[in-house]
């Protein structure tokens, strides 16, 4: 009996739509809740938190916990705040991201456009490195850093993350370049461009989306890494994650939860920012390797 007139079609679609948005909104709130609580509590005086009301909005707004976490909180021996460690993390993450992305791009270029006997085996071995658990490499890595005399320093951490990242970046770039027309490389060869000229002038300028993917992936992993940071860089060279742990776990004095919350947000901010700025390339780049056109 039910005749689907255009009006009923629109009405049902409106109702469905409303439900869809309602659910999306609920899930978004659910996922944002922890972050919201961190944010609320980071701008409260400590007394309000210890008073037992974590969810309520602050009565006295204050940015004191942020200032304290950034520049005066006790982390190491000196009350330096998180700032030097934040800088440590930047000094570690940026070179490691750039190096592993460039080497991954070169690997992908060679593995797709300059094929040689056994190239798939080499690619397979590189892929293998993506699946080795971090813990396994701790001791060999410590030995190598010791031999190179960069144990416990930021350059040491850069090396660790750079080497560990090559597997992933190679995978990304290889798949991306596999769909890149080989005729372009041949045309450039006939035009007289050499190995690196083709790479810099032809391949890299066309690699925007996959560079964004590699950058986001590497930056997030390296910035958030705790194990390597805790194992290979102690004291003044510690990265942000280790410093945050030290801040939260310091056993002296009162536990300043508001300062801890502020510090945790600081530690999470750069990866969030990178994702917001470059995120739209992320999905596009992930798709580019698998689906042609």
């Amino acid at each position: 009996m039910a005749v689907a007139s255009p009006e009923t079609a629109i009405r049902t679609s409106r109702i469905t739509r409303a439900f869809i948005y309602l659910f999306l909104l609920l899930f978004a709130l659910f996922y944002l809740l922890p972050f919201g609580i961190m944010l609320i509590n980071s701008v409260k005086p400590l007394s309000e938190i210890t008073g037992g009301n974590m969810i309520a909005l602050p009565r006295d707004w204050t940015i004191q916990p942020w200032l304290s976490a950034w520049s005066t909180a006790q982390i190491g021996v000196e009350p330096t705040g998180l700032r030097p460690y934040f800088i440590n993390s930047l000094m570690m993450a940026i070179p490691a991201v750039i190096l592993s992305t460039v080497v991954g791009a070169l690997n992908g270029y060679v593995l797709t456009k300059w094929r040689f006997r056994g190239d798939t085996i080499i690619f397979g071995l590189l892929l293998f490195s993506c699946f080795i658990p971090f813990q396994i490499v701790l001791i060999p890595m410590a030995r190598i850093l010791g031999i190179l005399q960069i144990a416990g320093t930021t350059p040491g951490l850069i090396l660790v993350h750079f080497v560990y990242g090559i597997g992933f970046t190679t995978l990304y770039f290889r798949n991306y370049y596999a769909a890149f027309p080989t005729e372009l490389v041949r045309a450039a060869q006939i035009d007289g461009a050499g190995f690196f000229q083709i790479f810099w002038r032809i391949m890299l300028p066309s690699s925007g989306p996959i560079i964004a993917v590699s950058f986001i992936w590497q930056f997030t992993n390296i910035w958030n890494d705790f194990l390597f940071g805790a194992s290979f860089a102690s004291g003044d060279a510690a990265p942000m994650t280790v410093a945050l742990n030290n801040l939260v776990n310091s056993s002296t004095g009162v536990r300043e939860y508001n300062v801890h919350f502020a510090g945790a947000i600081m530690a999470a901010a750069p990866t969030l920012l990178v994702y917001i700025v470059a995120g739209r390339y992320f999905v596009r780049g992930l798709m580019a390797g698998s689906v042609k056109g």
């Binding site: 005729e183 372009l184 041949r186 045309a187 060869q189 006939i190 461009a193 000229q197």
Partner: protein, 371 residues
């Protein structure tokens, strides 16, 4: 000694030989087309001339300089690819001058050369655009511009028209021919389209299965195909190939066929080559092009030997300019190309006029032309 010598060249991948002893001399200013179905080795041969693939044995020489092992950029060749292979991140102007830049030509000279080429190809207004903003025909022009600007000894074209739609393909075909006539450059052109091969070339190499089946002018290839493969590959619709028997009647050789009614039809052969004698009373394959079978009024007036043949018409296909008429001869479909207004009706008997000057005979075993 040619301008471009392909001298006993073979190509193997491991134990598999994909090109067998190819031997072609290309003269300066010649337009050589390599034509054949996919997998015949034509693109491999072109890539070997370009230096993108190694040469297993034999020699390729350009202007008497041996090219084996010479880097593609040092052979003074230019190539137009099937996909055009324009650098997507560079403007049209940059695309055209990239090769010059890589060869160290100073900027003012590059600019001048680019202007000349752009004017020749009428793409001056496109110089600042990216390839992604161009239509197929425009990309094609830019790809040719990139090849022309280097002023190479030899141009290599790898199926350059196959990505264009039918109308544009015909336009660009004419364009390429004009360009060749104007510049007199030496061109090696790969295609699987036999019409492109016929229209563009000064000489054609028909390739199949890694062998050059026949090398000759378009007329030689079309009128005197070396074997059954060349005969059926070149020409559209394909040449009719009919099982027949050679018999001597009234002192002249006849090709004897079977009509749709099961009765014999004999076609007299005049000026038979001496080689035909060996096939007397033996089976042969009679090859005859569709346009050599017409209605009596439409027959070629300059033909010396027109044979009449009455047979049942199976199908007629009016195609505008021509009408294609199908009949059954010796158990095979035989297509005739007639005037559009020829009075032919399916299911009726019709008197066909066959121009036996154009008929060729093939050995059924070796498939080579008997001559």
């Amino acid at each position: 000694m040619g301008f471009l010598d392909i001298d006993n060249v073979t190509k193997s991948y491991g134990a598999v030989e994909v090109l067998h002893r190819v031997d072609i001399d290309v003269q300066e200013g010649e337009f050589l087309v390599l034509v054949g179905p996919s997998g015949c080795g034509k693109s491999t041969l072109l890539n070997m001339i370009a230096g993108l693939e190694g040469i297993t044995s034999g020699e390729i020489r350009i202007k008497d300089r041996v090219m084996n092992g010479v880097h593609p950029s040092k052979r003074n060749i230019a190539m137009v690819f099937q996909s055009y292979a324009l650098y997507p991140n560079m403007t049209v102007g940059k695309n055209i001058t990239f090769g010059l830049e890589m060869h160290g030509t100073p900027a003012p000279e590059r600019e001048k050369a680019m202007k000349e080429v752009a004017q020749l190809l009428q793409i001056e207004h496109l110089l600042d655009r990216k390839p992604g903003q161009l239509s197929g025909g425009q990309r094609q022009r830019v790809a040719m511009g990139r090849a022309l600007v280097r002023n190479p000894d030899v141009f290599l074209f790898d199926e350059p028209l196959s990505n264009l739609d039918a109308k544009l393909r015909v336009d660009m075909r004419t364009e390429i021919k004009k360009l060749h006539q104007r510049l007199g450059t030496t061109i090696v052109y790969v295609t699987h389209d036999q019409i492109e091969a016929m229209t563009l070339s000064t000489r054609i190499a028909v390739m199949y299965d890694g062998y050059v089946q026949q090398l000759g002018t378009p007329k030689e290839i079309y009128d005197s195909p070396a074997n059954l493969f060349v005969a059926t590959f070149m020409g559209s619709p394909a040449m009719n190939v009919l099982p027949a028997k050679l018999a001597e009647r009234n002192g002249a050789l006849h090709a004897v066929l079977t009509g749709a009614d099961g009765q014999e039809r004999a076609l007299r052969i005049e000026n038979a080559p001496a080689a035909y004698a060996a096939y007397k009373d033996a089976p042969v394959m009679l090859g005859i092009r569709p346009e050599a079978i017409t209605d009596p009024e439409g027959a070629d007036r300059n033909a010396r030997n027109i044979q009449m043949l009455t047979n049942r018409v199976t199908v007629t296909e009016p195609a505008g300019a021509d009408t294609f008429v199908t009949m059954t001869l010796s158990g095979k479909d035989c297509i005739a190309r007639m005037r559009a207004d020829a009075d032919v009706h399916p299911g009726h008997d019709f008197e066909f006029a066959i121009n036996m000057d154009k008929a060729v005979l093939f050995d059924p075993k070796t498939e080579d032309r008997i001559a």
